[in-house]
């Protein structure tokens, strides 16, 4: 079984709002002190891929990432948790979700795959479209919001999260799964030795332009501007000598403001 997992490298989405800045010209955030990370749902997707391989007792996990030529951190991390292969697709300029889907689609034509895993949405632009777009462009089904999956009898069984629980579903191969977070798919920690090994492994270097054969994927959307919203709430911090007093004062204020 061949599993391909799509990893986007992004600026840490956890930086507090007050430290977030944007470059109006480029319509992109500035990096500031933010580190680069694997987009969180892609970490979940990677964990699901590793679990699928373990449960099946066979299979190959290929991690693929599109980005500027220096962006291989996500792939190194994937190799450190024992992905079998890593592919970096270098692309110039802004790569929005639509361009990414087109490039991934072209890359998948060169890779063998039974299952493609994506995060449900990237933690930067929050589009959440690449998985379903890929499925449609490859003409295969898509199961969204998966938390766990295994390979059985030539098909995939997956837990798909619902509003109040989950569905157990069965899908034929090949298939695209988009992954959402659950307590069962937090990405494992790599062993120190594997991190060192990963640094020496080869990462296949592909070019987006070559994959696309000169065609430029028209994104069909345009970001006109990007700005930081202003929001202003004055917080009334309850003071007091001890916790009980604070709790009491809070209760009174809640009552006065008719909140309860």
């Amino acid at each position: 079984m061949n599993i391909v997992v799509c990893l986007k490298q992004i600026l840490d989405p956890e930086i507090p709002a007050q430290d977030f800045r944007i470059d109006q010209e480029r319509k992109e955030p500035t990096q500031g002190n933010a580190s680069l990370v694997i987009s969180p749902f892609d970490e979940n997707a990677l964990e699901v891929a590793l679990q699928m391989r373990e449960r099946a007792g066979e299979g190959r996990v290929t991690a693929i990432s599109i980005g500027s030529s220096s962006g291989t951190l996500a792939l190194r991390k994937a190799l450190a948790v024992k992905a079998d292969q890593a592919v970096h697709v270098a692309a110039e300029g802004t790569i929005n979700s639509f361009t990414a889907a087109a490039i991934l689609g072209a890359a998948l034509k060169k890779l063998e795959f039974d299952v493609v895993l994506c995060g449900r949405q990237a933690g930067d632009w929050d589009f959440g479209v690449v998985g379903p777009l890929l499925a449609e462009s490859l003409g295969i089904p898509c199961v969204p919001f998966v938390t766990e999956a295994s390979y059985a009898g030539g098909a995939i069984q997956a837990k798909r999260q619902t509003l109040d629980g989950y569905d157990l579903v069965k899908a034929p191969l090949p298939v695209v799964l988009t992954v959402t977070n659950a307590s069962t798919n937090n990405l494992r920690y790599p062993k120190v030795k594997d991190v060192m090994m990963a640094d020496r492994k080869e990462i296949l270097a592909w070019e987006a332009a070559t994959l696309l054969g000169g065609e430029s994927p028209d994104a069909s959307i345009e970001v006109r501007d990007l700005f930081i919203p202003v929001h202003k709430v004055e917080c009334e911090l309850i003071e007091g000598d001890n916790a009980t007093e604070k709790a009491l004062k809070l209760a009174r204020r809640m009552r006065e403001l008719k909140l309860v």
Partner: protein, 330 residues
Amino acid sequence: MSSVLAFCLAGQGGVGRNYLGLLGGASRIATALGSETHAALLGSDIDAQGAGQELLAYGADRVFCVNNPLLQEVDSDVYVRVAEQVCRKLQPRLVLFLCDDDGRALAPRLAWRLGTGLTTDCTAFDVEDGVIVALKPVFGGKALARVVCKSQPGIATVRVRSMEALARDEARSGEITVLDDIAVDASWKKVEVLDRVKEEVKGIRLEDAEVVVSGGRGIGGAEEFAALHDLARKLGAGVGASRAAVDEGWVPAGMQVGLTGKMIGPSVYIAVGISGASQHIAGVSNAKNIIAINSDPDAPIFRYARLGVAEDYRTILPALGKALEELMKD
């Protein structure tokens, strides 16, 4: 005349409340464009007249219904082909979906089939010189983008609860058409549901609760959530959680509030041991009053809160519960 088309994916159920907000949004954009508001109602066993009248009363000018037993569950492999046929037939200017699980699964696939672009999770729309500009929170809500679709029809998914429904007006009239020439084929269905599992959630449904008490990583464990349930019981509140609490396995995923969890709009939201990440706040941007209890006085949550206590929740919650109970007696 051009139209703004709102898809209402009914499946087996009726038209949920959130769709009325979607329709309200569609109607406002249509007015600004000088277009009509259309609703496409897809499902199985739909009472086309009854449900159609309801959609007319909430602002649709015309309702198109596709009724087929194969549309019982909202399976995107099947629904996308139906939605594609509907769009090709009606040629709308703008197509709207709700940004819930169904809309998220379907809208991008429809966009690909129609060879057009889409913007997801939009919270507002402007019409500028006849161009539709979608407002989309990005970077977890830390920024807003104004996005235009360069091809037609434009497609957008609309954030749950971001748009107001119009006031119900039974005097509104319009046409209800059952589309009986839309093909639906059993072979399109690829994914089989083997089992449906519901996770019991204690107390009031989050989406309906007027008061919500939510816990985050600061709660420290699954058992510790009992303190939140205690307070919630006293207040008649629902209990929610942050993603961190879900990832820790302390609470079921159905309790996650936020950008990729539930979008809720209670009048009071009590955030306990939650740092206030923008992705979490995105789920409560409609909450009228946020109360924060967090041991770190510098936690970002205080920037969103009306009332705050910088203390260990373990000492605050029991005393707060007791005090509120006393006060509420009077």
